[in-house]
Symmetry: C2
Subunit: 405 residues, 2 copies
């Protein structure tokens, strides 16, 4: 955690991945993020993966460092309370993140009536308000048909990382700060809609793949090969699998030198009238000749020696690890200053990361755990909304709000 | 494009995906982004996919709406020019994005000596400055071993979307604005380092998967199934493949009703002593019983009718399209207000997206094309750096800078 946004107050009423990550990123940069959940937990409160005791590793992973308020959002009174929390006055308040329906009780119309200069960032599925999730965005874009080896034929291969959720969440955090900067300059509020489906198709276009596909049709399946560059998995003599890539001239030069294949490469260049030194596209075009060379060279080396030489030459490569190895790797987790061992509400204590960026000029504070559901209901309703203790007790008694279990 | 960050000046010296997307997102929200490239093009200038005439769809996709300056960055004089552009004074200037080496001529030490309150966002591979790319980050995390069907055995399956690059880029844009807000409040500059490898492992942890893997070892391969929820691809009677999901109680209720399987589902619930209504994890745990039911129900419906019913019931589903269908889909591209048909430097005219967010309160301006390499060299060096025309001509004559071809 870094104290880069001290005093900024953000209210989040959301679930699943995209919108909660936007709140998480803001919290990890020092904003006070008030997450509002349904009493008893919203639809993502028990999401897998779960701890042995039943607590959700997922929920506590995405809600680290946020205050937790539990409100019955099915009750009109609960809904009104949420709108009051979200629209509290103050130059550093009035920022609201949600994935609730665009035309429901958290519509721009209703919220901006209470605070016209609200910054309201709304993560959506489709731009028309229809549902879409990471997997349905990916399938609608055709990505599963170009994932995996050619042998998959007509079978789609889904990705396991919710990439569209994650990108949407980070972009929503960015767009929120952009709208806030605009408000600081002009006094104007803003609704910022970030639909997953638009993030998907715009990204395909930004990467040049929309134009490519319009011109040349679908990209074929390239298995583990990197399109348009030199890259693939190769196996060493001792059976280790490495991802070897060369994107820059320096990386290619290093790879050729480490593998000692300069002569053979020069022969291919002469035969085919091309040069691989600076044009990564040519390395892809002629991969039928280059891959066997590299395969053979990799298969004649032991991984330990090869990895050292690749590092020394500034090559770009990565091991293929199992995730179980990755999470126990001291470089990635144990000795990585991002991580601290802390206790989470599930009752488990484990390595937890703070902000994904490193700011050498500021102190990195220890990551905060997630709060127990409802742990801050009382404090937020009394301090932020200004309820009296009698009012608060009455809300608790009537089940409109809840404290921590 | 939206005019949300008018007047803000950002300088970008970068290549590939992550850092250029950060600049793109800022430009699409109205910042003036000055992209500096090597004379003749940097390592990503000819990247695939390419237009028939040779221009890079990729390069022009990621550099839309940025000014283009061409400088010989191998020459000391060129390097000094870049540092001067990046560190120009002004409250709305002094924001610099780069993926250049951490200890090179664009180090924090050197740049902050010229402008102490610089906001310098540096996209990196590994946190120690070593190289890492999207694919090597993914392989080191073990993701390829849990992608694809069980039949892949010990073979890894790489993802085709550069998800780590994209997430890193959006997060870098977010962190840049956070650091800028801090500078506005305190006058302090900041180096913000965003290493791809840290974004990777922190994200796995944020999603709860680090804790899961520490406790229970590697997740198995689930093919196209969604972990921890109800979701998979199913084929209809007329041979259409649909991704059907149910994350929320409402989506599950809708799916059960549309597929008319309430009785069979109730029988499974009774037999197994569980309820699928609100706990998506139970739907995953008992997928051995639920999938065959849904398979059979989907196989007895035609897709047209089924899709209509799913929509009417608020279900979450997506078609499996080919990308070729997606890019010609009027809803996604042709009639989507994100997109405009514009001419790009490749000489091709095609649908190009603006900002991925929609701001109903502001005018969406037409997306700007990428500029020809070096098109703004003269203007930026004269107007921004304040060079005289004699100085500029001399730089051109000596090959230190270049105008557009």
């Amino acid at each position: 955690m870094y104290s880069l946004l001290p005093g900024l107050r953000v209210v989040e009423a959301s679930s699943f991945v995209a919108c909660p990550t936007a709140g998480l990123y803001l919290a990890q940069m020092g904003a006070e993020v008030i997450r509002v959940d349904q009493v008893g937990g919203g639809p993502d409160y028990r999401r897998w993966p779960r701890a042995p005791g039943g607590g959700s590793f997922y929920w506590e992973g995405l809600n680290k460092g946020k205050l937790s308020v539990a409100i019955d959002l099915s009750a009109p009174e609960g809904r009104e309370l949420l709108t009051r929390i979200a629209t509290q006055p103050g130059k550093q308040a009035g920022v609201f993140l949600t994935n609730f329906p665009v035309n429901g009780f958290l519509s721009w119309e209703k919220l901006s009536a209470l605070r016209p200069d609200l910054v309201l960032t709304r993560v959506m599925g489709k731009p028309d308000g229809g549902p879409a999730l990471d997997y349905t965005v990916a399938s609608a874009l055709g990505i599963p048909f170009i994932t995996g080896p050619e042998s998959m034929g007509e079978e789609p291969v889904n990705a396991v990382l919710p990439a569209w959720d994650l990108l949407t969440g980070a972009y929503a955090a960015f767009a929120t700060l952009a709208a806030l900067r605009h408000r600081d300059a002009t006094g104007e509020g803003q609704e910022v809609r970030v639909p997953l489906a638009d993030v998907g198709i715009a990204t395909i276009a930004n990467l040049g793949q929309l134009a490519e596909t319009l011109q040349g049709g679908d990209r074929q399946r390239y298995g583990n090969e990197v399109f348009g560059a030199f890259g693939r998995d190769f196996v060493t003599r001792d059976g280790e699998r490495l991802m070897l890539m060369a994107i820059t001239p320096r990386q290619w030069k290093g790879l050729v030198s480490v593998l000692d294949i300069a002569e053979q490469v020069a022969r291919i260049e002469a035969e085919r009238g091309t040069s691989f030194a600076t044009d990564e596209g040519e390395r892809f075009r002629h991969r039928d000749a280059l891959f066997p060379l590299v395969e053979q060279a990799a298969a004649s080396r032991d991984s330990g020696e090869l990895m050292e030489q690749l590092d020394a030459a500034g090559c770009c490569w990565g091991p293929y690890k199992r995730m179980e190895q990755a999470v126990r790797d001291p470089e990635m987790v144990g000795n990585n200053p991002l991580f601290s061992q802390i206790a989470q509400p599930s009752g488990e204590s484990y390595a937890v990361p703070g902000a994904m960026a490193t700011l050498p000029g500021l102190d990195r504070q220890e990551p905060s755990p997630a709060r127990t559901l409802g742990a801050d209901t009382e404090r937020v309703l009394m301090d932020v909304v200004g309820l009296g203790s009698g009012e608060f007790s009455s809300l608790v008694d009537r089940g409109i709000v809840a404290r921590a279990d």
